[in-house]
Amino acid sequence: MNHILALIKKDLLLEIRQQYTFYGIVLYVASTIFVLYLAMGQPEEKVWNGLFWMIQLFICVNAVAKSFLQESQGRMLYFYTVAGARDFILSKLLFNAGLMILMSIVSLLLFQLLMGNPLQNPFRFIGFVCLGGCSLSLVFTFLAAIAARARQGAALMAILGFPLIIPQVLLLMKMSNTAFADVIQASLTQIILLLVALDALVIALAVILFPFLWKD
């Protein structure tokens, strides 16, 4: 546990010192949504929802891709011997989940500002956004590890990840559709539980498989 906290602290410190990833992604979010606004204006609910989650997907690929690529081979070996592979991947998963939740909220604000506000139930949607950002980041963190191992960038991550992320995205769209109207969907809890279960599955797979990935 101490190792994980120390590794997260290290990532945070790096982030604060370099201020490269964070502002880079914020700029990416802002410019993408601005271009979208120029192209679409203020779309209706269904389009709004679809666009929002697609943008989250691309933001996630870009935000998470750096997490493994920035570390050099030698430093990886160092972390591996000092903290162990499990702690390392857990710290990355947690850090990226936090980063992605932050980015999702930033992009939600920008969406509200530029693309109009069709939300009837904003607090519920914020909850969904946090859960969604978390789910997306978990899958893509592990794929970033695979892509980094293959010495490839975000392109390979997208190829590997988009088919695998479809269940999560479909569940998220289904969930967040309930935030646009005052209807109560009976199966909402079921969908949320499913998504949480999928997240747990991804974490378990990452923890089990990551040591094999980094063994040299």
């Binding site: 899958v139 088919p163 695998l164």
Partner: protein, 228 residues
């Protein structure tokens, strides 16, 4: 002869399903009264077994990927690749036969049905698996990373095809509010159809294994030639 019995069984089973599948009388209620399937229902004996055998072969591929991670023998990796390759070919065939069937009964080649989406995702996952493999020149690393991806993808893919089709209304059987499971359509399968269908599943699985073993022999010989 003792080693080839399953190949003979495969041929017999497939000849049997091809003949019986085209000749047996269909359940009148399901094919004519309650639906517009009519004679296209016979596609069931070909389309569905293809997906069953695709599932069986990716499971074999998963098994060899796990074995590779437990003891890194390059042969296991070749096994995993070749079974995944044959599974992908069977998946393509399943998609094409399904699409033709859909055109006759549902009116379009593609209608965004959850199971069609699932089928497309399956193909994308395994194409990505081959792209990932080819992106790495180092054999040892390639085998390890590809095995990890294969296991990861399998365990996301299986829950997905079990959950997603049940969540939404589907044109396929087994959707929300209809009878059956994501594989088969409940009671619409009568006893005669079962007698043709299950041998067909076994036959296609055996054919897939046969094709994979042929490719494996070629690959292993190539490997030997390179290392010699």
């Amino acid at each position: 002869m003792r080693r080839h019995w399953w190949k003979i069984l495969c041929i017999i089973l497939l000849i049997y399903t091809f003949i019986a599948g085209l000749l047996i009388p269909l359940p009148y209620e399901t094919a004519y009264v309650n639906s517009n399937l009519y004679e296209t229902m016979r596609n069931f004996f070909f389309h569905v077994p293809m997906w069953f055998s695709q599932l069986a072969l990716i499971s074999v591929s998963l098994y060899y990927s796990i074995r590779y991670l437990r003891s890194p023998n390059p042969v296991y990796d070749i096994y995993a690749t070749e079974f995944a390759r044959t599974a992908t070919v069977l998946g393509c065939l399943g998609l094409v036969t399904g699409s033709i069937w859909a055109n006759y009964t549902w009116g379009t080649w593609w209608s965004n049905d959850p199971k069609q989406t699932g089928a497309a995702i399956a193909l994308l996952i395994y194409v990505a698996y081959f792209v990932l493999r080819n992106s790495m020149p180092d054999l040892d690393k390639r085998a390890r990373v590809a095995s990890v991806y294969n296991i990861f993808a399998y365990f996301i893919y299986i829950p997905m095809i079990l959950i997603l089709p049940r969540l939404t209304e589907s044109l396929h059987p087994g959707g929300k509010g209809s009878e059956g499971n994501p594989g088969l359509g409940g009671s619409s399968l009568d006893a005669t159809m079962r007698l043709v269908f299950w041998p067909g599943v076994l036959g296609w699985c055996l054919l897939g294994t046969w094709i994979s073993t042929l490719r494996l022999r070629v690959r292993l010989l190539e490997e030997k030639k390179h290392s010699a």
